[in-house]
């Protein structure tokens, strides 16, 4: 399927959709209730079938340690303490990437709220779906609770819809964390509302000092708690030059982050996950591309005073109120029609207007570029995936050819079967042709893996049935040939055996995909009535090769301890293999009269009878 060229900007339309639902206003109502009536705790309410849990924005964050608040800790080490709360998330991590890291203080805050878990589960029982929400630090706890519940439900394979809405919450983790969420297909479960100038979500890019943070937090907590009485948020009592200095400091780091995000070292950097809804008095835009989220964070505050930035952390009530009633009003940015703009340009202009950036502001041009970039890179994986689908359909004849070759081998007079025929095909024309196909398929699948690891494919690619099946089938077809090729040239004598040293990464990855799929679906295992078309253990022949070596070694080995070990290995394999054969999980080439497996079995029998003769 060819995806059409994109001619629409969707950030604004998505936010219009969000604004028309009751979700945001209900969530905010409960957030402010939690902040005024339940400091350091949460409130819950059932609205229709939807259970809402709102965490208070007033939380005691441990900022006493001298280390700057930018510090992140690995999720693995922290959650190990409490028994794999986030196991599915951690297993979505790819080797070679930075480990999943979270802001230390926020993680601690979550662990401090652990005793709410039973209460949350009690709400869950009454609801058909659940919304977690929170303002400020409350949003961070809400995010972690939502993640925890997603992990929890994942392992009990139940599918209750979960949604998390945060208002002005700080960033939480690094890029690996964000990617793991995407790989689990949970990106769409998080929506972070950030008002145009709110400094809180932008704060963690800068290495703040403890006392500065204290001052800010105290100020905010006081104002949040007093919201009920209707006090206008006061102004922070700090000399003006200090304020300006502080703001310059934060903005400088924010700018640097927005540069690093595009090209540069992202390790140890905070990284957004889920979608961001930026709202202004004029409306909102919704973005999910992380790079553009960071850039917009920077562009939207480029020209403001610190007081505004601090106040805006408390203004969500106004924004949401205004935002939720915007559907009634017609919003024109130019008179009459679209004029000379293309639909995309018009959409962009609308999006900029909604984000509160005026057309003539200096930030407008980079913001426009930023939105364009987001749209492009959001679509790229989809286009790539569609192109791969076209390529793989062109590979179908190769698959048929290999199938045909296998039948040819299995039925030829030498009775060696698929594996051994190919291994000994030498310079035959057929063998050569098959080898070419083997190469072509390897190149294709290596490319798939490379693209996936460079994030050029949809994040959930490895969970899409079509691709998991295709990769698995490829493996059944071709891995025996890969093994044959490996042993044909005696590579194992130089490098060591295939299983340990020669197996290509793609096969290991495809194993993982397949195992995840079958673990999830619990493939029913009916007993076969005839041999399988393809041996279900794609490494079967590599095991045979090792077993052959053990048998050979046994004959020349004198050390009884080593001999015992070899016997043990041999017996294990024999049991394993005969079990497969009995269950007909192997294809008939395994039991061909002259296959290496059949020969090995005979060899073993002979040896056993010799041993028997020696030992009276």
């Amino acid at each position: 399927m060819e995806a059409q060229a994109s001619s629409f900007e969707i950030g604004e339309m998505l936010s219009t959709f969000l604004a028309s639902t009751p979700l945001l206003s209900e969530a905010w109502r409960l957030c402010s209730l939690a902040s005024t009536t339940a400091p350091m705790r949460f409130v819950s309410e059932l609205i229709g079938d939807v259970g809402y849990v709102a965490f208070s924005g007033i939380q005691m964050v441990d900022v006493s340690e001298p280390a700057s608040c930018r510090e992140m800790v690995p999720l693995e080490s922290a959650s190990g303490l409490i028994g794999g709360l986030f196991h599915p998330l951690l297993s979505a991590h790819n080797e070679g990437e930075e480990p999943l890291m979270l802001q230390g203080g926020l993680l601690k805050l979550f662990f401090g709220c652990q005793n709410f878990r039973d209460q949350v589960l009690a709400v869950l029982e009454k609801s058909k779906s659940m919304v977690f929400t929170g303002h400020s630090f409350g949003g961070s706890i809400a995010s972690l609770y939502a993640l925890w519940l997603l992990c929890y439900l994942h392992s009990s394979s139940s599918s209750i819809p979960i949604f998390c809405i945060t208002f002005g919450s700080p960033l939480l983790g690094n890029e690996s964390f964000s990617r793991a969420i995407l790989r689990e297909r949970w990106g769409g479960n998080f929506c972070h509302v950030v008002s145009k100038h709110d400094i809180m979500p932008r704060l963690l890019f800068a290495p703040l000092l403890t006392h500065q943070l204290h001052l800010l937090l105290n100020h905010w907590h006081l104002s949040m708690a007093s919201q009920q009485i209707g006090n206008p948020a006061g102004v922070l009592q700090v000399p003006d030059e200090d304020k300006a200095e502080f703001l310059r400091f934060v903005l400088a780091y924010l700018e640097r982050a927005s540069q690093l995000a595009v090209e540069g070292e992202r390790r140890e950097m905070f990284w957004p996950f889920g979608s961001y809804l930026f709202c202004s008095k004029e409306g909102g835009i919704c973005l999910e591309n992380a790079v553009s989220v960071i850039k917009m964070m920077h562009l939207m505050v480029a020209t403001v005073s610190l007081d505004e930035c601090i106040m805006d952390h408390l203004n969500y009530g106004d924004y949401i109120g205004n935002f939720s009633s915007q559907f009634l009003k017609r919003r024109n940015f130019m008179q009459g029609g679209l004029g000379p703009c293309s639909s995309y340009e018009a959409g962009l202009a609308l999006a900029l207007q909604s984000s509160g950036l005026a057309w003539q502001e200096p930030a407008a041009t980079p913001a426009k570029e930023c939105l364009k970039m987001a749209r492009r890179s959001d679509r790229k994986p989809i286009l790539n995936c569609a192109n791969l689908a076209v390529t793989i359909s062109k590979m179908m004849p190769y698959r048929a050819l290999l199938g045909w070759y296998k039948t040819f081998c299995d039925e030829s007079d030498d009775q060696m079967g698929y594996y051994d025929s190919f291994k000994q095909s030498g310079s035959s024309k057929k063998g050569h042709k098959v080898n070419m196909i083997r190469h072509k398929l390897a190149i294709f699948w290596n490319k798939v893996i490379r693209m996936l690891e460079n994030n050029e494919l949809p994040y959930d690619f490895h969970k899409r049935g079509k691709w998991v099946n295709a990769a698995h089938f490829y493996q059944l077809l071709v891995e025996p040939l890969d093994i044959a090729e490996y042993y044909r040239w005696g590579t194992h004598k130089v490098e060591g055996h295939y299983l340990e040293h020669g197996r290509e990464r793609r096969h290991q990855i495809f194993d993982k995909w397949w195992n995840e799929k079958t673990a999830l679906n619990g493939e029913g295992n009916n007993k076969r009535s005839e041999f399988a078309s393809w041996t279900q253990d794609s490494c079967f022949w590599a095991r045979v090769e090792e077993a052959r070596e053990w048998l050979a070694n046994l004959r020349s080995e004198n050390d009884p301890r080593k001999k015992e070990l070899l016997w043990e290995n041999i017996n294990n394999f024999e049991r394993y293999a005969s079990n497969l054969v009995e269950r007909m999980e192997v294809s008939k080439d395994v039991v061909a009269k002259n296959s290496s497996y059949t020969l090995w079995v005979e060899d073993l029998r002979e040896l056993k009878s010799q041993v028997q003769q020696i030992r009276p």
């Binding site: 998505l14 979700l23 819809p161 009003k329």
Partner: protein, 606 residues
């Protein structure tokens, strides 16, 4: 380009339309009569009979539940046509409307018969709740009289009608080429056509007051009420909020959003299933008539044309949204019979370019920039569907070429006593391998088509196209046996289960349903292309001295009966009866009393 008149655009006379409107309003006032019939003999064209249905009711005449009150058309009188063929998804219709129609069907039938006998043109019409009944009556008339008996195609003209069904209703009417018979008039602010975009629970508080206002107003046109203002504002706001949700949700998808947020949120809210269909005529406040056909675009316009230019307008517009529901008769008399100003905004691409008339018309409907983008996106998506079809249409020659090659493969295999099914299953020769490659090539092309149908990415008319039906049937008959051979050759029945249940690709299921629909056959009765799968399944159960259960025996007998019939109609090839074929070998293993002389004769003849 010359400006077209209403008659030229919609193929219905203005005076007939206006007459229909006044008949519809009259039915409204005498609601004790379920059906009103009036003859019309116009100035220019021939005669017509106008059927109209009264249009008031209470809450339960709108919603059968607290949500949207929609129900699957499966099992109803509409189940044959109102579905998507390949996916076999039935349309959803408003349950209360469906019940009302069922209630009058018998009575309607008698009156309609009479009109059909007189060979008169029939117009179904209704105002308000009369609209949906007119719509259902029209569909019923199309499927019962026009399709089988070639009766004169009807017209359906509604005024301020609520929506009736979901996107599959619109899809099915487009496929059958019936959409053109439906014309819906909507006053710019009339709230009634928008009501079903909101779930009952969101408007229940005010709904009875609103319906009461409608009732009083319908009895006396001059009725006004200032007490309703507050309820009207709340009601209007709720309807608009829900209309905004569904309109923006649809727009996000039309614009190609990939954000999973959209999907997640649908679990937390109630989205209206209802979609418009047919031609909509929006009446602006300054006497213009704006027509459009694209279902998605109409949905957008239903929402956006009611937006306010500022908050202070709310009360006025909300009251107008009730009052205007009764303004159709005077509006049409003035603007249809007098100086017409009719603007069509199809094709929607014209919104992008500077077309002064269209721009002016959209401004008159209060369509904002964002709204124009949504309209464009609706048009763009339709265009993309056509492009998709062009792409697959261009593959027809290729499909045809490969089918011909496979046909000659089939014919050549006859010489080897076994037929192409068994030859393919054995895969002995180079030709069998080549046939397999061809099978895979075709599967690639067809799977792409099926995938697009599943996502509704092809034009609605696609599944009704003769040429595709024919090539699909041919494909199914030639190639499906190869898929079955491959399935049983690789013993996939051991891995996954019987072919017909677990292994049958959609490309064959879809094409089978196309034929069954076209020929009005019973579902499942055109399974000739996969009878060998049943043979394979039964073969393992009737051989090796196993005494088959009575259940298996019934299947054997059914299959043999079908084979006779299919063979008789020449929809299965003669090669099936070759001496060494799987079928004949199995057939010979059956007890003699099951072996009919007919099949015996077939076996001997080849």
């Amino acid at each position: 380009m010359a400006v077209e008149s209403f008659r030229e655009m919609l193929k219905i006379d203005e005076d007939l339309t206006v007459k229909a409107c006044s008949v519809a309003m009259k039915a409204h006032r005498s609601s004790d009569q379920l059906i009103q019939v009036e003859n019309f003999s116009g100035s220019s064209s021939s005669e017509a009979v106008i059927f109209s249905f009264p249009g008031s009711g209470s809450e339960k005449d709108w919603f059968s539940d607290a949500s949207f009150g929609a129900k699957s058309a499966k099992g109803s009188v509409f189940s044959e046509y109102l579905r998507s063929l390949g996916t076999d998804e039935a349309a959803f219709l408003n349950e209360a409307f469906l019940q009302k129609f069922e209630y009058i069907r018998k009575q309607l039938q008698d009156k309609v018969e009479e009109a059909v006998k007189g060979n008169k043109k029939i117009v179904f019409t209704g105002h308000s709740l009369g609209g949906p009944v007119a719509v259902l009556a029209t569909i019923w008339f199309l499927q019962e009289y026009v399709k089988p008996q070639n009766a004169k195609p009807p017209f359906c003209v509604t005024f301020g009608s609520p929506l009736v069904g979901n996107h599959i209703l619109s899809h099915a009417l487009e496929r059958e080429k019936w959409s053109g018979y439906f014309i819906h008039f909507v006053m710019r602010y009339d709230v009634v056509p928008r009501i079903l975009l909101a779930p009952l629970s969101s408007i229940q508080q005010q709904f009875n007051q609103i319906l009461n206002f409608f009732k009083l107003k319908s009895m006396s046109a001059g009725y006004e009420s200032s007490e309703i203002t507050n309820d009207a504002s709340n009601f209007f706001t709720s309807v608009m909020r829900n209309a905004s949700t569904i309109a923006s949700h649809v727009a996000c998808n039309l614009m190609g959003s990939t954000n999973l947020l959209l999907e997640t949120i649908t679990n937390f809210i109630q989205l209206s299933p209802y979609r418009p269909f047919g031609t909509y005529v929006f009446c602006t406040e300054n006497g213009k008539l704006v027509t459009l056909k694209n279902s998605n675009a109409v949905l957008q316009l239903l929402f956006y044309s009611c937006q306010l230019s500022n908050e202070t307008e709310l009360q006025t517009v909300a009251y107008k949204s009730l009052r205007d529901h009764f303004a159709y008769e005077s509006e049409l008399k003035e603007n249809l019979l007098g100086m017409q100003d009719v603007v069509s905004i199809d094709p929607l691409e014209k919104i992008g370019v500077a077309d002064e008339r269209i721009n002016q018309a959209l401004d008159d409907l209060g369509v904002s920039t964002a709204a124009r983008l949504c309209l464009l996106a609706s048009g763009e998506s339709e265009k993309q569907k056509r492009k998709n079809q062009d792409k697959i249409d261009s593959k027809k020659p290729e499909i045809d070429k490969i089918l011909k090659e496979l046909e000659s493969y089939r014919d050549a295999s006859k010489d080897h006593k076994v037929g192409y099914y068994d030859a393919f299953k054995l895969q002995k020769s180079q030709n069998d391998f080549k046939a397999n490659v061809k099978r895979l090539e075709l599967a690639g092309i067809w799977d792409e088509i099926i995938e697009m149908l599943k996502r509704y990415e092809l034009p609605d008319q696609f599944e009704g196209e003769k040429e595709w039906l024919e090539i699909g049937t041919r494909y199914r008959r030639i190639v499906e046996p190869l898929d079955i051979a491959n399935y049983y050759r690789h013993l996939k029945n051991d891995d996954t289960g019987p072919y017909k249940i677990k292994g049958r690709p959609r490309r064959y299921r879809y094409t089978q349903r196309w034929r069954e629909h076209e020929e009005r056959m019973e579902a499942g009765s055109s399974e000739e292309s996969c009878f060998l799968a049943e043979v394979e399944e039964l073969r393992t159960r009737t051989v090796n001295g196993i005494i088959p259960s009575s259940d298996i025996m019934t299947r054997v007998q059914k299959l043999l009966g079908q084979v006779e019939e299919w063979s008789h109609h020449n929809v299965i090839g003669k090669d099936v009866f070759l001496e060494e074929s799987t079928f004949v070998k199995w057939w010979k293993s059956l007890p003699p009393h099951l072996r009919s002389p007919y099949i015996n004769a077939q076996v001997l003849s080849v």
